[in-house]
């Protein structure tokens, strides 16, 4: 049963990859969407079965076969459904289905073969993502982990004729590999330390030990695993690939680079919550890296002009929040934010996709404006998404983000809480900067000017003229996805309504068994749920609400009411503005400090110097000397096989003879 969940999209992939170029677009789309929806339905049934089990025994496992065995290593390909993976498979297949449906319209201008290729990759991605979240041990997780990385590579570089796209795909893969380097070492150390790679057995073994007081083996294991997470989930120092990943088609950004794949690092920590709880040193690092990434990405997001790049930095920033949650031991809160974020960030990306689609490929915020009138569905749904991510009360983002901030404050990390709050302010500002610049006001310049500069393969051609005359709102397939996600962005938070607001935090309770023994560290930190803490929680909520509303107000002031003011601020701090525009020059620094030195040393030092000149030079010198001495002997070389074989044999006999009769 569980196997069907990843198998269905895999079959979809195989069908579209084999026959896709020979079938029509509707057929290819139907195969892909059908596979996804079927997988979603199987997931729903599986999760209902899971919920029917008693709370402390909620796990369904299916061993498919023994994948690798060597000596004491036996890796079973086992899928395991527990509350944590239940949340994940519903997010992946549910939001995945919506994005598949959305894509049928968004990609319809591709050629048949390309259309099928797109959907085959998308299905393959879903299959690997589902393996990732269902795998019961590190190696099966790693199959999914690398597989989604591959699909990300293929989809970022989907428009492969564009160099920037194939560059971005390659960058994503390689940066992720840097993370994998740490991840693999972490897995190896875990196996050597625990003698198993199975998550549950590792959790059991580590639960038997106390938290490490000093930085020990478990701290090292978790830190190495976290290095892997910084790659996949775009945290400092490996976040640089995600903004570039926006070269891919927008639905891909929504599915892979916002809702699902990039959360794999957070999931992986949640999956190993018990282990991480026993490495408080690592947890502190995770919290600090998370919050620092959140702040850094938020500041960059403030000044970017490409609508998708703002959203990308926003994703990096929100992922930072999730890591903050993990770092303070609030695993359920982190997963809760992962879950709500999947709705509103997918919505925001798909909304931006609808804008880009309507504007024939335009992505520059400065050339948008006033779209509210022409694109009402896109506008209202996007607005809901923006409100949700900004943390406006009663929407999903409010509950999850607040839970993280509350847990951070309550665990005594006041400084982290302040930075988190500041980031929250930035989030509201840059999100509403998009809302005001794109949908309100007036279009800055006739949009016809901008067409060719940003024209992209899918939108080129005759549609441009039609678009220019009158902007079309999202077609039905896209509108459905937007509306459903908007509803989700509002409602998704209510499953985790905190006690302070009269809920019972069902989400957290549901997840708890997945983190069993995980609370060893966090329980003492978080005060008991009593009236006093409810007061604290409500107080903090009020603060964050003020921050969110304040951010929206600032955005309103700077970007709608008084646009000159923002330019004035920018020109008052030209240095700062330039640094932010150039994303702190991190890409340039990496290039100058790592990429170029490696290239130059490899090319001029190792290859042309050491290899050709030194080693091969020595070889040729030896050969030359010998060759000179044996110039006479060379005449014996007739070049015939027989003569050569004979001389070889003769030589053998001579040496042998000498040796035996000496």
């Amino acid at each position: 049963m569980l196997l069907l969940i990843p198998l269905l999209p895999l079959v979809g992939f195989l069908l579209n990859a084999s026959f896709g170029r020979r079938v029509s677009k509707p057929a290819a789309g139907a195969i892909a969407c059908g596979a996804m929806i079927a997988s979603f339905l199987v997931s729903l049934v599986s999760v209902f079965r899971l919920i029917a089990l008693p709370a402390d025994a909620r796990a369904i496992a299916q061993q498919v076969f023994t994948w690798i065995s060597s000596g004491d290593l036996a890796v079973a390909f086992t899928l395991r459904l527990d509350p944590l993976s239940a949340v994940m498979i519903l997010v992946v297949t549910g939001i995945g289905s919506l994005i598949h449906i959305y894509s049928t319209a968004y990609m319809h201008e591709e050629r048949d073969a390309e259309y099928a290729r797109y959907f085959s990759y998308l299905n393959l991605f879903a299959a690997f993502m589902l393996v990732l979240v269902l795998g019961s041990n590190f190696l099966v997780l790693f199959v999914g982990w690398e597989g989604v990385g591959l699909c990300s590579y293929l989809l970022i570089g989907f428009w492969y004729e564009k160099k920037s796209a194939s560059d971005a795909g390659k960058k994503a893969f390689i940066v992720n590999r840097i993370g994998d380097f740490g991840f693999i070492l972490g897995v190896l150390l875990a196996f050597v330390h625990f003698g198993t790679l199975d998550f549950q057995e590792i959790a059991r073994s580590s639960a038997a030990l106390g938290p490490e007081a000093a930085f020990g083996t478990m701290s090292l294991i978790t830190l190495l695993l976290f290095v892997g997470a910084t790659g996949k989930s775009a945290q400092i120092p490996l976040y640089v690939w995600l903004p570039d990943a926006m070269e891919g088609p927008t639905p891909v950004s929504a599915l892979i680079h916002a809702a699902t794949m990039v959360t794999a690092g957070v999931y992986m920590i949640g999956r190993n919550a018990v282990l991480f709880s026993h490495a408080p040193q690592t947890l502190t690092i995770i919290a600090v890296v998370g919050v620092a990434t959140a702040l850094l990405a938020g500041t960059i997001g403030l000044v970017q002009n490409d609508i998708k790049r703002v959203l990308a930095y926003s994703t990096v920033s929100q992922l930072g929040y999730m890591f903050l949650a993990m770092g303070v031991g609030a695993y359920a809160a982190g997963i809760f934010h992962l879950y709500t974020h999947a709705f509103f960030k997918a919505l925001l990306f798909l909304g931006s996709g609808a804008v880009i689609h309507a504007l024939a490929g335009e992505q520059d915020l400065r050339r948008m404006g006033g779209l509210k009138k022409d694109l009402p569905i896109t506008y209202w749904t996007f607005l809901i998404g923006a409100l949700a991510i900004s943390g406006v009360p009663l929407l999903s983002g409010f509950f999850s983000k607040d839970e993280i901030l509350y847990r951070t404050y309550a665990s005594g990390h006041t400084l982290l809480w302040i930075v988190g709050l500041l980031t929250s302010l930035l989030t509201a500002i840059y999100m509403f900067r998009i809302v005001f610049l794109a949908f309100h006001g007036h279009r800055a310049e006739p949009f016809a000017d901008a067409q060719d500069r940003h024209a992209r393969p899918p939108q080129s051609g005759s549609h441009e003229a039609a678009h220019a005359a009158h902007l079309h709102d999202a077609p039905p397939a896209m509108a459905i996805a937007l509306v459903v996600l908007a509803v989700g962005s509002v409602a998704a938070g209510y499953v985790g309504l905190p006690q302070a607001l009269g809920g019972s935090n069902r989400f957290e309770k549901f997840l708890e068994p997945s983190f069993t023994a995980a609370d060893v560290r966090s329980t003492p930190d978080v005060p008991d749920d009593g009236a006093a803490t409810e007061g604290l929680e409500l107080g903090l909520m009020a603060v964050s609400t003020l921050v969110a509303v304040g951010g929206i107000g600032l955005a309103f002031f700077f970007f709608l009411a008084n646009p000159r003011a923002s330019d004035r601020v920018a020109s008052q701090f030209p240095g700062l503005h330039r640094v932010l525009m150039h994303k702190y020059y991190v890409d340039e620094i990496y290039d100058a400090a790592i990429v170029q030195p490696i290239r130059i040393v490899s090319e001029d030092g190792l290859w042309k110097g050491l290899d050709v000149r030194v080693i091969d030079g020595a070889v040729n010198d030896v050969a030359g000397t010998v060759g000179g001495a044996s110039a006479l002997l060379r005449r014996l070389q007739t070049g015939s096989v027989r003569a050569y074989a004979a001389s070889l044999f003769l030589g053998v006999v001579l040496i042998l003879g000498y040796y035996l009769w000496r």
Binding site: D72, V143, Y160, L648
Partner: protein, 518 residues
């Protein structure tokens, strides 16, 4: 008498080559010649599969042993046998030879008959190397193998083929001369101990060679093998040989010949001289790790596709040597697995590059670009082989690399850590090449009209990719027969040399130490 299946692996290609001598040597008969060669090599592969099907995977001992006196005066005999380590290398050889012939189907237009004969003789010699259990016999096959390879490069190669061929043969002969001396010394040691000369490997295994003598003997073997692998810094013959060799030469060279070196370590150098092995393994491992990083870095900056793949082999084979040096089950088993896996994926890469060169007659990356648009199927195959080569889980490369890293990590975490950077570097050089060749717009006009895969090329790539997937998804199919033999070999080593591998302090389900029975 039982059917001598191992001997048949050696004789069948020779018989095929003899048949070809009967065909008139002119190019009008070339198609017939090619078909005969292909059928013969396919029969050899079937023979190898038959061997696999009859092989007892539960046993680590040599099986299907044939023993005939050859030169009794010197104790030289014809002893052949197969264990789990050589079994799959035989199958690999049988698998790659027909594909190599198919890969050169159209590009070899000169001396076709001689070409096919040379390839079949080469196959015979390679089979001989893997089945020999007599040191002298092994040495004969080992050197015999060089000759067809020499001609393959020297006659059907590209511009600088003669330089490359001579360099190849001098390098490898230079290495094997010392090995011959060491082999002779072993026979005389046997004489000293038992009163009679013998080159029989199993008898020499049983000798207690004094540690004081093991050092130079080990080094003499190790040098020959190190050049063959090749281990840094003995690798500079490889890029030249690969670049100048025709496709079939590169496929067999990368696919099988390089494994002779690593096979030699597993079969001879380590188990024959356990004390010396324990002493020198750390140094060898350091060279292997240097090779992993160095090969990858140099591969990255190559402008020539074949050279790039050649340097990547230096890196990949570094993993194999490293795994052997770890001398534990996962390390050595991973090493053997990686030998097979590298044969499949790198053999496949050379075949794909050969297809490109057949079309465009250039190996330079800069001459290509945007091929994906022109030849989607070929590029899809190229992508899968690229991914196999960079060790994507689910394909063949991952299993060996992971097992090796695990085995090495237990022995020396620092070495494993440096080796693991290969994970990053391999992705870098392979994907960069892949991007420059296949992505982007078609900039070179000569690339516009290239045809996609022909049926013949489909027939080459489908089996390669199928095996790459099979080895990634069902590795146990291949790991199972390897393990008992690896454990037997490790027992042999650890029975003499002190065990230096540490067991993890968690009680594991089963000790990773080889079982003490046997």
């Amino acid at each position: 008498m039982q059917f001598p299946i191992l001997t048949s692996l050696v004789v069948l290609p020779i018989a095929g080559a003899a048949c070809l001598f009967l065909v008139r040597d002119d190019e009008s008969h070339a198609p017939l010649v090619r078909n005969i060669a292909l059928v013969v090599s396919a029969l050899v592969f079937a023979d190898a599969l038959l061997l696999w099907s009859r092989f007892n995977a539960a046993s680590g001992d040599f099986q299907f042993i044939e023993r005939h006196a050859w030169i009794p005066t010197f104790g030289i005999s014809y002893v052949v046998g197969v264990d789990g380590i050589s079994l799959l290398l035989l199958v690999l050889t049988g698998f790659l030879t027909p594909l190599a012939l198919l890969g050169s189907w159209e590009s070899i237009q000169r001396k076709t008959r001689a070409f096919c004969i040379v390839v079949l003789l080469l196959e015979s010699a390679m089979m001989g190397v893997f089945i020999s259990l007599d040191l002298f016999l092994f040495y004969v096959f080992w050197d015999a193998m060089l000759i067809p390879m020499y001609f393959l490069i020297g006659i059907w190669g590209y511009e600088r083929r003669v330089y490359a061929a001579v360099k190849f043969i001098l390098y490898t002969l230079g290495g094997s001369v010392l090995m011959l001396l060491a082999i002779l010394s072993l026979a005389s040691l046997h004489n000293a101990a038992t009163g009679s000369y013998s080159f029989d490997l199993q008898k020499i295994y049983a000798l207690q060679i004094p540690p004081s003598q093991q050092g130079w003997l080990f080094l003499a073997f190790a040098l020959a093998f190190a050049i063959k692998v090749p281990i840094f810094p003995f690798h500079t013959w490889l890029p030249d040989a690969h670049v100048e060799a025709p496709t079939a030469g590169s496929v067999i060279l990368a696919g099988v010949l390089l494994k002779m070196g690593t096979y030699g370590f597993v079969r001879f150098a380590f188990p024959l001289f356990p004390d010396a092995a324990a002493q020198f393994a750390p140094y060898l491992a350091v060279l292997a790790v240097i090779g992993i990083v160095y090969g990858a870095l140099v591969a990255m900056v190559q402008p020539d596709m074949k050279k790039l793949v050649a340097y990547s082999s230096v890196s990949h084979l570094g993993f194999v040597v490293l795994g052997i040096c770890a001398m534990d089950t996962q390390g050595v088993q991973g090493a053997v697995y990686q030998m097979l896996s590298h044969g499949v994926s790198t053999g496949g890469l050379f075949l794909v590059v050969g297809m490109l060169v057949d079309r465009r007659h250039t190996r330079l990356i800069s001459e290509y670009g945007g091929l994906k648009k022109v030849m989607p199927h070929l590029v899809a195959a190229f992508l899968i082989l690229t991914l196999a080569s960079i060790g994507l889980p689910g394909l063949n490369g991952f299993v060996g690399e992971f097992l090796i890293l695990l085995g090495v990590f237990r022995w020396s975490p620092p070495l494993a850590t440096v080796a693991a950077t290969g994970v990053i570097l391999s992705a870098t050089y392979m994907l960069w090449m892949f991007q420059r060749v296949n992505y982007g717009p078609v900039t070179n006009e000569k690339n516009t009209g290239l045809r996609d895969l022909s049926p013949r090329e489909w027939a080459i790539l489908v089996p390669i990719i199928a095996v790459a997937v099979l080895m990634g998804v069902m590795p146990n199919l291949f790991l199972r027969p390897i393990e008992p033999s690896v454990n037997r070999m490790l027992n042999q080593i650890h029975a003499v040399a002190p065990v230096r591998v540490q067991v993890s302090h968690q009680p594991p389900a089963a000790s990773h130490q080889p079982p003490s029975s046997n």
